[in-house]
Symmetry: C2
Subunit: 442 residues, 2 copies
């Protein structure tokens, strides 16, 4: 079979543009509405997308004064969506810094059972002091420590998912034996961050493990991804950066002893689709105008680790910003933004305009054919295995993409016209993991 | 309006009888099936039940060799059920000993939004060393400490649920103001067990707080219930004990400054329904015969805190059992069992037969009219505000109860024929809690 694209829809209330809730067509409380999420997911499933995805952090993430800040917990929201969909994958973000592995491994195993093998986990380490303060800490753990804990968290979780063999349950009514007892094993994990006895109280799930997804781009983040991630979200503002990232991740995966085809790279794109090139450009300009720079400048200052007073709207970024290694938050996001501003010689106001739509992700602006061409160009030139679709405005942005861009790619043989698999792993062409405890014990 | 009964269906795979999975009609993997749970919930909703309920513990709870031991995480399973039901309440068990309040308060607020105000939380402190060992501990915290932590957990959770006022969101597209900023407040909780800054990242939910449910019966448990619980599950093997418990809880609620009508007492019953009294008794005997005493005796020994070798199947319980205050697990369950065995002069084998069906809950055996009569008798004689229905075999047990017993009670005006409310609190006749932070600040 020829290689085909993969598409994930990044669900985001009324859209990824921070002011999208203010558009006349938007339901400003879509963030709390199951029906709104059901609609978005249905559109993506009808278009044969591989998956939908929910971002998350255990903290009030944005200023509730300025945009819808309430976020339903993703594993619950996706469990609800599992009940009204049949094929599309369901990827929830959850933090390794502020959860216990027994509880979280169990939630993902449960989601995988509930959905018939459609669960994915976007593994994040959660930057920021504010989140830490919701969990008894006064400051966030160091970036390096967070990734070390994440690594051990994954060791524990995979052991828990493997604590029942696939053939543990025999359910023999006659003899009264439900599971063969020595096929359900304690894991007896004694590590640095965790002591977990096991076994999990959920049998091995349809996919064995949920699909493991990751989006950290710092050096620690890439090493973690090379070791564990099977699908990777990334923000790349240019083709060259996507190519660099793509090559680097595949190289690191090989160095970690993995098949590079089993690490699917999905850059984020904001499609802005017009019937003519001029109409598309106008739409893009409309979106930039929706931003209120006075508010956005504060967010930017936080990411860059500087006092907000040091940023002037109509001047370029200050020359003496803190370096990536002085920052404990989103290291790679900071660097991406700084390099972008310097390369394109942007003022703070211009930078904010670009970030408001895509937050560092690439905007693909044009007619349906132009957008399809760009997607194909990335796909065929070592920059992407598929894309994380992040419409500025929802649901209209995904409806337009599904109606206009997807058929072009299907016609070109670059995207499926029907689901061929049942599980999320099958959609992404990824293997079901063998049971590691079986390998060790047997 | 005349006082009416409340019914909760205690969901339990193929039924509460430990051997129910072995019956010819049972799907032995119903525990992992969304469809099976959807069916049970639909039957209960069609019968206008107030709620369905899932028990839980973050540990392998029963011997996987002997019965289906896998349990999908309840908040996820109920989120999935929320998507395919419209009226019935959804009560999930979750542990205050092995969760963080920010995460758990958020999950219940999310379930309440997803379900349009139908979420309930059965608050448990989780007995047992095995659970502790999944969370980095070598033994369970002391019974008293667990309840102290539970109390502070509730303080934090209710503050988090109240961290947004009900009128916080204005969603003014023109001005770009989504929430009024000073209506979203940090909670700044600094306590013994928890330090939580807040605010919650979920706005106040339809019910304000989920319905608070509790089932601990020890002295600590009853004090906690009197302080926090709005619905109470309890296992009482006799009418007299139900009356004692009912009076005691209402008294304690009044002493805690609460309206006793806002504490709904729901004893558990196992209805065994036959078309004639003889048929019902035969059904009950069939169920007792399904037990394998060699296995059950181990479970009994654990609850009683004795070595299994000390229990002889055809003799009464030993005279020198550990007292309730020497036990750190389910204190009140131990006492209930011991008193029952002594009062009825049961051998260990007979005791196991009774417990296998109802685990200490009362079995109501008889024709539909007899069962309805007993229910009415409890209800009208200070023993119950409603019942936690725990069929020995599912789905047949709830289908029979819904088809045969519910109509009799409806005819007598003792149970609703249509839902009159939308939320779980409305079904149970409980008020929506005022926002405590509003009261303090305003
Ligand atoms: C598409 C995408 C989605 C992300 N979603 C989340 C998220 O839901 N929660 C979160 O804490 N971080 C999220 N991140 C941030 C990354 O997990 C990571 O923290 C960030 O890219 C910085 O990388 P680093 O942590 O390796 O420095 C996301 C990043 C990308 C590119
Ligand atoms: C109907 C009912 C349901 C219960 N469900 C749970 C449960 O899901 N999880 C749990 O740990 N304990 C559960 N319990 C046990 C109680 O929470 C409590 O631990 C037990 O009754 C002993 O009381 P005590 O803890 O006050 O000693 C349940 C009890 C009853 C009566």
């Amino acid at each position: 079979m020829t290689r085909q694209l993969h598409f994930n829809l990044f669900l985001h209330d009324t859209g990824h543009h921070e002011a999208s809730w203010r558009l006349p067509e938007s339901d400003p409380n879509a963030n709390l509405s199951l029906a709104a999420h059901q609609h978005l997911t249905r559109v993506a499933e009808d278009a044969k997308f591989d998956s939908v995805f929910l971002a998350d952090s255990p903290v009030l993430w944005s200023d509730p004064g300025r945009r819808p800040a309430g976020k339903l917990e993703p594993t619950l929201l996706l469990a609800a969506l599992a009940a009204t969909t049949t094929r599309i994958g369901l990827i929830a973000t959850a933090s390794t810094s502020y959860n216990e592995p027994y509880n979280l491994a169990r939630r993902f195993a449960s989601l995988d059972h509930l959905s018939g093998g459609r669960a994915g986990w976007n593994i994040v380490t959660t930057a920021g002091e504010a989140a830490a303060r919701n969990f008894g800490l006064t400051d966030q753990p160091l970036h390096k420590t967070r990734y070390e804990r994440a690594d051990e968290f994954l060791q524990v979780s995979t052991k828990l998912w493997d604590s029942w063999t696939d053939d543990a349950i025999v359910a023999d009514k006659e003899s009264g034996i439900h599971a063969v007892r020595d096929r359900v094993r304690d894991i007896g994990h004694h590590g640095t961050h965790f002591q977990v006895q096991g076994a999990l109280n959920v049998p091995r799930s349809p996919q064995g493990w949920p699909l493991l997804v990751q989006a950290g781009s710092s050096d620690n983040g890439r090493e973690f991804a090379a070791r564990w991630a099977e699908a990777i979200f990334v923000a790349n503002p240019t083709l060259a950066e996507s190519q660099e990232f793509y090559a680097d991740i595949k190289r690191r995966a090989v160095a970690a002893g993995r098949d590079p085809d089993h690490v699917v790279v999905l850059p984020g794109i904001v499609p802005v689709i017009g019937d003519s090139p001029a109409e598309a450009l106008e739409l893009e300009a409309d979106l930039e105008r929706l931003i209120s720079p006075e508010y956005a400048v504060g967010t930017l200052a936080t990411v860059l680790g500087v006092d907000v007073g040091r940023l002037r709207l109509d001047e370029p970024l200050p020359a003496d910003l803190p370096a990536e290694d002085e920052i404990e938050g989103h290291k790679s996001r900071r660097t991406l933004i700084v390099e972008w501003a310097r390369r394109d010689n942007l003022t703070v106001r211009q930078l904010i305009g670009k970030l408001g739509g895509g937050r560092g992700h690439r905007t693909f602006t044009g007619t349906p054919v132009q957008v399809a061409d760009t997607i194909q160009h990335y796909f065929e030139n070592g920059a992407a295995d598929g894309f994380n679709i992040m419409p500025a405005v929802l649901p209209s942005g995904i409806e337009a993409f599904a109606a206009k861009v997807v058929p072009i790619l299907q016609e070109r043989g670059l995207f499926r016209t029907e689901y061929t698999g049942r599980t999320l792993r099958e959609h992404y062409g990824l293997p079901r993991p063998a049971n590691t405890l079986e390998l060790i014990n047997g």
